[in-house]
């Protein structure tokens, strides 16, 4: 029997959702300040309206949903996934009011893409948008990378016992420190340190490349945010192709790879355990799959004689594949060049890299390196079982921060999530094919959206059918939250309707 939620259940969900949305509103103060600094008055007013809307929603829900009840697991999961929906619905107001979004749906698409660190966009005339709006695009992808609930946990929550449920609901389950609020703050400590160092490196490079100090700083900060969060937004429509610089690309690659690492790995390194990076199953898994996909694409493009020399070939292939594998979505080629230059094998290699994706508990998306590692270990274990005597006890372990023994329960959970991702990739691909796109291109774009990558082969445009926009929005949301909290929200809504 499905139990219908009581009023207190609604109140607790409303209260915590309100808190998160207040956090989103407060975050908009930063782009508002940038707009005021650049005398972008119309954009500044857009942000005042949007901040007010967030505060009205946030304060209103907290006012009407006053309760002392603590969160249980279903509340936490429903708040996490629901907060992302409301944060998107209200966070897209600056996009919509700017006049650069073709519709409210397009604005929703861009903001969901930002929060989920995907990087696909539908904003039009990007090269003429305000600095304030650019700040917001990159800030929301930076905040989304850490998790918008983590933002709220860090600044707005005071040690509530339900905080861990929210944290897990957002697709993160690593406890860097015993207290989850301290864990959220540790994630921010790592991220802000990288923000400082990365912005400095990219600003200095930008100055060296001929940018003015102001543009070098803002472009450096925004590109860092796009790389670290594995978001892939960039301030110009040319993306990182704008800079025409090997140095800039190298810095971006370092930040993209760092951003794709598990926060637990970052914390281990932070606290002095430098060996962890060599032993961790996720880094090993990523090294193997990154090498394989790079080799496939390099072999094909060398055969097709697309690039003039080995250096150009490796530079282009490695950058796009790292960008895809870390689920960032930066590119130094035009979107259509994936089709016109890279061809079907290049597309497939990039698609595989995106599908596998980054590390768990990172800013990235995709199936994740740890799952690829666990599945590989499980397959090896089965092969060893087959070739060993029946009485032999075959055990397998892997290293992720500590040594973990592989058991059937863990493998089953891993396979469940992996199958869910593959199904999501498949469904989004079918929608693309039904809308008239070729299979390889539809698969590339669908995997890009569902793995929160953001590379495009030219299918994602403002003229794309609305059904594809909605499909990609749902794919980005499901992929980022790793299904469970979205399913929990669905279950909650079902119990409201059908429960007794």
């Amino acid at each position: 029997m499905i139990v219908r939620p009581r009023l207190d259940d609604h109140l607790v969900i409303g209260k915590y959702t309100g808190k998160v949305i207040v956090g989103v509103g407060l975050l908009m103060i930063i782009p508002l300040a940038v707009s005021l600094g650049f005398s972008e008055w119309d954009t500044a007013v857009d942000f005042v309206i949007s901040i007010a809307a967030c505060l009205i929603f946030g304060s209103g829900t907290q006012l009407f949903c006053r309760t002392e009840k603590d969160m249980n697991w279903s509340h936490g999961l429903a708040v996490a996934s629901g907060a992302w929906v409301w944060a998107t619905a209200l966070g897209c107001l600056p996009h919509y009011l700017s006049g650069h979004a073709g519709s409210y749906l397009d604005a929703l698409f861009d903001v969901m893409s930002g929060y989920t660190t995907t990087g696909l966009y539908l904003l039009q005339d990007l090269d003429h948008i305000a600095n304030g709006l650019n700040m917001w695009r990159h800030l929301l992808t930076y905040a989304g990378g850490q998790g918008i609930v983590v933002v709220a946990l860090t600044f707005l929550f005071k040690g509530t016992s339900g905080a861990y449920k929210l944290y897990v609901g957002e697709g993160k389950d690593e406890r860097l420190l015993p207290n989850v609020v301290q864990t959220a703050r540790a994630i921010w400590l790592v991220s802000l340190t990288w923000l400082g160092v990365g912005t400095l490196a990219l600003t200095a490079t930008g100055l060296y490349l001929g940018q003015s100090p102001v543009r070098a700083f803002f472009h450096g900060m925004w590109v860092f945010m796009g790389a670290w969060s594995t978001g892939g937004f960039a301030p110009q429509s040319f993306n990182t192709f704008w800079f025409h610089s090997l140095t800039y690309e190298v810095v971006c690659i370092v930040v993209m790879i760092a951003g794709s690492f598990n926060f637990a790995l970052h914390w281990a390194m932070w606290t002095g355990d430098r060996k962890e990076i060599r032993k961790n199953i996720e880094t090993i898994s990523m090294f193997v799959t990154l090498t394989l996909t790079t080799l496939i694409a390099t072999f094909w493009l060398a055969k097709a004689n697309v690039y003039p020399d080995a250096m150009s070939l490796f530079r282009k292939v490695f950058y796009q594949i790292v960008s895809g594998h870390t689920t960032t979505g930066f590119s130094t080629i035009y979107a259509r060049a994936f089709v016109t230059q890279w061809g079907p094998v290049g597309l497939v290699a990039a698609t595989i890299a995106m599908a596998i994706g980054a590390s768990a508990c990172s800013t990235g998306g995709g199936i994740k390196g740890i799952r690829m590692g666990i599945i590989s270990k499980a397959v090896l274990q089965d092969i060893r079982r087959m070739i060993s005597p029946e009485s032999a006890l075959i055990s397998q372990k892997y290293h992720h921060i500590r040594n973990v023994w592989l058991d059937d329960g863990l493998v089953r959970t891993t396979l469940t999530i992996t199958v869910a991702y593959v199904t999501l990739y498949g469904v989004a691909t079918v929608v693309g094919v039904l809308c008239g796109f070729p299979l390889d291109q539809a698969a590339f774009e669908a995997v890009s959206a569902a793995s929160n990558t953001g590379l495009s082969c030219g299918i994602t445009t403002p003229a794309m059918p609305a059904v594809m926009k909605v499909t990609y929005i749902l794919a980005m949301w499901l992929g980022r939250l790793e299904f469970m909290s979205v399913f929990a929200l669905g279950g909650y809504l079902w119990s409201v309707v059908r429960g007794r």
Binding site: R4, P5, R6, L7, D8, F38, E40, W41, D42, T43, V45, D46, V48, I49, A52, A53, L55, I56, S59, G60, Q62, L63, R66, T67, E68, G99, H100, G102, Q124, D125, D127, H128, N131, L209, G210, Q211, R215, Q236, S237, F238, W242, H244, A304, N305, Y307, P308, D309, S312, R315, K316, I333, R336, A337, T340, Q341, W342, G343, T461, P462, A463
Partner: protein
């Protein structure tokens, strides 16, 4: 003298009508579409259907015009500029242009001295100069790590850039004031009644 006045008016009216009729044609004549434009360069670089047969436009000298966007990045004697030949080249969204898709353009590697003719680079508050360049198109430039670019040897100014003003519509200002007042009221009420908890009850 009095007889001439109707003729003068007639001549003036005729001149105005001719100018009005000629204006769109004049605008089109000044900025005819690029052949090839950036979309064609990007989408049809290769012999259709066969990636292995080399780049169609690669190595050919082309003439290309567009709005100078963003900034010039000077690297020694040469510089990078970016020219957009998209729907926002003449007028951007802030000036009232209708939304017509993404930006589209080409990166241009050009002697830095030539870029001094460009007075404005397009951004939110500026519509950039429209310039025309002549040069060799590279589908994958050997000198620049495989980038797609134009190595230009000549630049001609077609239209200077200008400042763009994006005024705040009155309805937006009024909405901002109204919503802000409501937000402050709700924020204050929430703080005041935060600890007044209603008793537990079911649905």
């Amino acid at each position: 003298m009095m007889e001439r006045i109707p003729r003068m008016f007639a001549a003036l009216a005729l001149g105005t009508a001719l100018l009005a009729a000629a204006a769109p044609a004049f605008a089109q004549d000044v900025f005819p579409p690029n052949k090839p434009d950036s979309t064609e360069l990007i989408n049809h670089m290769n012999v259709p259907g066969d990636i292995t047969k080399g780049l169609f436009w690669n190595g050919k000298t082309i003439t290309f015009h567009g709005e100078a966007i963003g900034e010039v990045m000077v690297r020694g004697d040469y510089a990078w500029i970016h020219l957009n030949d998209d729907a926002y080249m003449l007028e951007n969204v802030e000036e009232g242009a209708e939304l017509q898709g993404y930006n589209s353009g080409m990166a241009v590697w050009i002697p830095a001295a030539l870029t001094k003719q460009i007075d404005t680079y397009g951004d939110y508050q500026h519509e950039g100069s429209i310039v025309e360049v002549q040069g060799v198109f590279n589908g994958a430039c050997k000198e620049h790590g495989g980038d797609m670019d134009i190595h230009a040897t000549a630049l001609q100014m077609l239209r200077p850039g200008h400042v763009v003003v994006d005024p705040v519509p009155p309805w937006k200002a009024a909405l901002a004031v109204g919503l802000s007042a409501l937000a402050v009221l709700l924020f204050w009420l929430e703080r005041k009644y935060r600890h007044v908890i209603r008793p537990n009850r079911g649905v």
